[in-house]
């Protein structure tokens, strides 16, 4: 287990226990983080799991695949260099205490 911090667009934070090997979308949804929807269940087909990684997190996360870049174009909120599909980012032990920023809206 590692602690992951979800921070919403208004700046309020929620700390959750995340299992190493799970993805960010699954972790958020199963911890009731309402700002992550994950409607396609992790198939990289809906972009309702869009999150912004903090710079330190972005550094150690697996890089984006082509399918993710493509689908991110269909996200509702603004897409930045730190944007990822939460369902495509695997949690590792090194992520302890790091921050995931949530967009204003997923739809």
């Amino acid at each position: 287990m590692v602690k992951l911090i979800f921070e919403n667009a208004q700046g309020s934070r929620q700390i959750v226990d995340a299992r190493v090997g799970d993805n960010i979308m699954f972790t958020a949804v199963s911890n009731g983080i309402a700002e992550v929807v994950g409607e396609c269940g992790g198939a990289a087909m809906c972009a309702t799991c869009h999150v912004y990684l903090s710079p330190e997190l972005a550094e150690i996360a697996d890089p984006k695949q082509e399918i993710e870049t493509e689908m991110l174009d269909c996200a509702a909120a603004e897409v930045t260099d730190f944007s990822r599909l939460g369902c495509q980012v695997q949690i590792t032990a090194e992520m302890e205490g790091m921050v995931v920023h949530l967009p204003e809206s997923q739809v």
Binding site: E39, C40, G42, M45, C46, D73, C74, A75
Partner: protein
């Protein structure tokens, strides 16, 4: 482990008329069951339907014998898996993205909605299903696809013909003659529009697919447009009619929705309550355990999202009711997994943010004088067939 139970009694006619009490019973007693009449396995619990859709390696969409192929004169992306499906899907997905709707379409859709709503006669009783829900769904889709030249009537007729052909499991040649004729009309229209979309590209699906960096083959461009026509009119049409029905038959909720402008909640609850696409088909690639039973390879499995959306384990005992104030839980009206509905975001925006507020701004005191007159129908696709409302 239990043997797969068989239901000899239930017929497609029963499920077309009033499926919900049957599904409720299946969820409780036989959540995975072979329906003898169709020889298909019905899966009715939310947990299972979601898992099946998210596990395409075991539950494939590839179905070599589907009547969809002759109906669409092509193997469409609906019946493909993996990279092949993704390539075709992503070729048109940008046209349906929230960004494109915001930048390119929101103003146009608002104008179209205003135009269609303003044609409705105040003070009179009209069939809203026929006079608004169908035509506006057709018009918006025509623009989104880049087929502005097609009339509302043509779009609706093509759509219905494709659906009838795709559901022609009895291989009745007459239905395929009709779908062949519709295909010829659509192909002719598409042919005539290619040069325009090349010369003046916009963010419609046709332009997007034609002008992509690595375009998919033209045959698949055409197949995709047809899938969008077959699958893009009924759903918003039926969703709109269902939501209006839900609101007008629940006056307390209707008042609150108007007061607080909860149109997006009304949208989500409407499609949860009666999912416009009720059922999806998959084929098992191997033996697999679903719940307590084993299902063999090569079996046709039908996930019943209509039932999943009322599952007691998620919605408690009142899932059968339209209640926009229920605790928010994800529903499966748009499916899950790789075939998650490509039009989900478009539908949420056009209905929840544009159509519903606009309709009830103009007719805030609309009434449905005799709800018993509304006829509901459908197994695969479901919604009201008529909606006689009085406009005030």
């Amino acid at each position: 482990m239990l043997d797969l139970p068989i239901n000899e009694a239930v017929t497609l006619a029963d499920l077309t008329r009033d499926p919900y009490p049957i599904y409720k019973r299946m969820r409780a007693e036989t959540p995975v069951v072979r329906m003898a009449q169709t020889n298909r396995i019905l899966v009715t619990r939310a947990e299972h339907t979601k898992w099946i859709k998210e596990t395409p390696e075991i539950f494939s969409s590839d179905d070599p014998t589907t009547p969809m192929k002759p109906a669409f004169q092509a193997q469409t992306l609906m019946r493909k898996d993996g990279a092949e499906h993704r390539a075709e899907r992503m070729a048109m997905q940008p046209a349906f993205s929230p960004k494109v709707i915001r930048t390119d379409w929101a103003d146009l859709y608002t104008r179209l909605a205003e135009d269609y709503v303003s044609r409705l006669p105040r003070g009179e009783t009209v069939d809203l299903f026929r006079d608004l829900c169908g035509p506006i769904a057709a018009r918006i889709l025509a623009h989104m696809l880049g087929l502005d030249e097609a009339s509302d009537e043509d779009m609706q007729r093509w759509s219905q013909t494709l659906i009838d052909g795709a559901g022609n499991f009895g291989y009745d040649p007459k239905l395929f003659e009709l779908s062949d004729a519709a295909n010829a009309e659509m192909n002719a229209l598409f042919d005539s529009l290619i040069s325009r979309h090349r010369a003046e590209p916009n963010n419609s699906a046709f332009s997007t697919m034609l002008n992509a960096r690595n375009p998919i083959p033209m045959s698949q461009v055409y197949a995709n447009l047809k899938i969008a026509i077959g699958g893009g009119i009924n759903e918003p049409r039926d969703a709109l009619a269902t939501i209006v029905y839900g609101l007008l038959t629940n006056p307390d909720q209707f008042e609150e929705v108007k007061r607080q402008a909860l149109w997006e909640d009304a949208f989500e609850e409407g499609v949860r309550w009666v999912a416009p696409i009720q059922v999806s088909g998959r084929r098992t690639t191997q033996e697999v355990q679903i719940g307590d039973v084993f299902v063999g390879p090569g079996e046709a499995v039908m996930t019943i999202q209509a039932s999943a959306n009322r599952d007691e384990t998620i919605y408690g005992e009142d899932g059968e009711l339209f209640n926009i104030f229920r605790d928010k839980h994800p529903h499966q009206a748009f499916g899950s997994g790789p075939h998650h509905c490509a039009g989900a975001q478009v539908a949420r925006r056009t209905l929840g943010q544009i159509m519903l507020p606009l309709l009830f701004d103009r007719f805030p005191n609309m009434t449905l004088d005799d709800p018993a007159k509304v006829i509901w129908s459908g197994f695969g696709f479901r919604g009201p067939l008529n909606l006689p409302v009085t406009l005030n």
